[in-house]
Symmetry: C3
Subunit: 338 residues, 3 copies
Amino acid sequence: MSHTLAELANYVGGRAEGDVTCVIDNVASLGSAGSRHLSFFTGGKHKDSLATTGAGAVVLSAKHAELSSTNLIIVDNPLLAFAKIAQKLNPQEHLPGIHPDATVESDAVIDATACVGAQCVIASGVQIEAGVVISASCVIEKNCVIGKNSRLHANVTLNDETTIGKNCVIHSGAVIGGDGFGMANDEGRWIKIPQLGRVVIGDDVEVGANTTIDRGTLDDTVIGNGVKLDNQIQIAHNVCIGDHTAIAGCVGIAGSTSIGRYCTIAGGVGIVGQIEIADNVHITAASVVTQSIANSGAYSSGTPLQENAKWQRNFVRFRQLDETYKKLKRIEKQINNK
Amino acid sequence: MSHTLAELANYVGGRAEGDVTCVIDNVASLGSAGSRHLSFFTGGKHKDSLATTGAGAVVLSAKHAELSSTNLIIVDNPLLAFAKIAQKLNPQEHLPGIHPDATVESDAVIDATACVGAQCVIASGVQIEAGVVISASCVIEKNCVIGKNSRLHANVTLNDETTIGKNCVIHSGAVIGGDGFGMANDEGRWIKIPQLGRVVIGDDVEVGANTTIDRGTLDDTVIGNGVKLDNQIQIAHNVCIGDHTAIAGCVGIAGSTSIGRYCTIAGGVGIVGQIEIADNVHITAASVVTQSIANSGAYSSGTPLQENAKWQRNFVRFRQLDETYKKLKRIEKQINNK
Amino acid sequence: MSHTLAELANYVGGRAEGDVTCVIDNVASLGSAGSRHLSFFTGGKHKDSLATTGAGAVVLSAKHAELSSTNLIIVDNPLLAFAKIAQKLNPQEHLPGIHPDATVESDAVIDATACVGAQCVIASGVQIEAGVVISASCVIEKNCVIGKNSRLHANVTLNDETTIGKNCVIHSGAVIGGDGFGMANDEGRWIKIPQLGRVVIGDDVEVGANTTIDRGTLDDTVIGNGVKLDNQIQIAHNVCIGDHTAIAGCVGIAGSTSIGRYCTIAGGVGIVGQIEIADNVHITAASVVTQSIANSGAYSSGTPLQENAKWQRNFVRFRQLDETYKKLKRIEKQINNK
């Protein structure tokens, strides 16, 4: 799947410089690229690698062009251009058909262009649209719908009634549609509330490995279009996530919380239940969100890493923070009254 | 599975008001319910939805009765009554039998009323009791025991010797009985300590999707009766969890820690190893527990979410907390000596 | 697999005391051991159990010998000796061969001494070396390599091109080789950057249940020799982990971060992307690492657990930490100027 530099520049609306006839087979990092590889540069600490790269060409922005002596594609957003070229050079092709070692219920509707891998289980009432790829050992329970050109990697579980849009990617070990954690208390004992809602996932969504998305209790859990979820995220029942929000690994979102559009939530963040987060909110790594956020902007919580011995002393003083504050107030008053 | 309002009220020991002959087919939320649905109200922000609901009936407590103009079931604990009715209206039925695409060792003992799904693997020495449902693609390793009426959702793994009680629900992707993280250090290199204990789970336990419970090193890891575990919880070797304790998603509990009965542990909490937590302890979201807790009550740790710019300034000052405290002490002394 | 005490002492280079001809069948805890069991003692709170144990023999260090009245193996590192003896008494044996219910592509190369369990899927181009054990329902995608004597527990997923060294143990639900979370932003929408690197795992590595290790974007994600990873760890694309580092459960490591050799990272730690951590760094539970660590040593972050009411007051004061600090500075100046 080779192209000339001129073709690739044209494909991403960029300007080719140098030998525009050079042939590019694939992409690679600045450090490992050879003469038929395209690499990229977005600034920062890789300046040395750019100067010495063996890449046949590099995609970068105009302001960095002079840092390189190889062939170039000059664009405004080099990472975006690189992503598009990398996709073009690495098309995903799959032979359609159902593997003979899959178990498929007779009333499941599977498009003839879809692919179902070995050891998959496709239950009754499932609809699988054109171009869908389901890798080995997935379980698709009753009445699930998987939209056009979506891809499930190996060992994904879709519990019953789950709906997945078009062009989604679901990674291995993800569980979509498990019961929400809903219980009533009966004098100390927990009584399960049946979880009767579904999970409804939009188009162009990515769900990371071993991420879990629970079905709603009565209404649905909803993941908007273009949402990107990294690995090991936990999304509880009746959460709604707005379009084009990206959430990094190990985030937990408790029940019935609603998150806006175009948000970014960094790794390890915890978000309590029953709150609302506005559009364009950005939360930094390992923060804990305990209240609704009404305004866009960047938010954080947490304390700094220190050498253990120093930290121990500050850790202890946190217990006295309010007392310290009040003592200071008293002293201030005492001084000002003199 | 329809019932009149009078029948349902009688079933939960409540009082029916309005048209007690109205027929209820299922439950739904206040916002989406129709005339043959029962909904519930427990107070708070859904007051408007209660006033405008299309539900055929609502279950609520006497103090909220006047807020609704539809038919009612009046009870002391509306959520509990709703849970019981929702279960009654949504019975889980499964045809018994072993799917022909399952792999079952000849000496596994499977009750004739149990159900084993497609692509399951049931190893030697396994005992599966009456009414058990094992969904597709589960692996049940050697000598596991699964008690009456328990249900394993798709893609559960029970490593060898695991024992599950009666009426349990294990969600997809859960791994029960993996090796504990036990090693000895040999001049910098880690040597594995074989993990020879089991996981023993009581009756009426729920285990969430992708939750992991490690086997004990020598003695067992023990989960008490009525314990409810949400998704993506990690329970290390030799942990003991007391009866009727509920633990929310993304909690991690390190080795040999013992947790009491009737505790609630909110999402994202971390609990170190080798400690003991009393009965009736409640820990709020994302807290970190580094010492034993001897008395019942509510406990917390953590810092508040702030706009990033403000947080940065406070974050830095945490490093000087002990220094600040000591400075204040000196000033206090100085002033009082004047 | 029985041995006399003398044989076992000799095996670990220790000194047998008491009846050196007593026969040991297996290991057990001090509390549950019988006369044909060996137990161990490393100090601390188990002193009472040592005094009353029914164990046939105990392995401990010379300084603790007088605390016991049973037969002994005296060594410098009792836990290490115990680990070695426990391994010797519990050999892992498996019949070689491919289960008839596995799906194996014709061009996969599987050593005749390897074992492939029921419902496994072994794709094209896979190489499985001598003595490898693959338990039930694993998926090994295209071109993966699994080195000699490594063991995959049930339901492991190796995405394509993953390389595992010798003598590794991979626990159930682990996903190795999923796509990294790499995207470019196109006016608010996220465009996927194809993830073309691999995961390369060294020798003697353990990977815990439901742990996820993402493939590199262009270059590889690399796990060194002797690395031990507990359950539910998330390792992002292009992370490098140095030899003999041990990481406890629920740790998340963001993209392109490099961790040194002989580190220990406790449970629940979060580590941001693009940083470097030196050799011999030890990070305590639930800390958050936001900057590179250049020097070996112990590091921590976080705040103490308190009763909820007390914590609430301190929690609020954290918002004013910088303001409090500055107020104190002003007062100090005011006093010193008097």
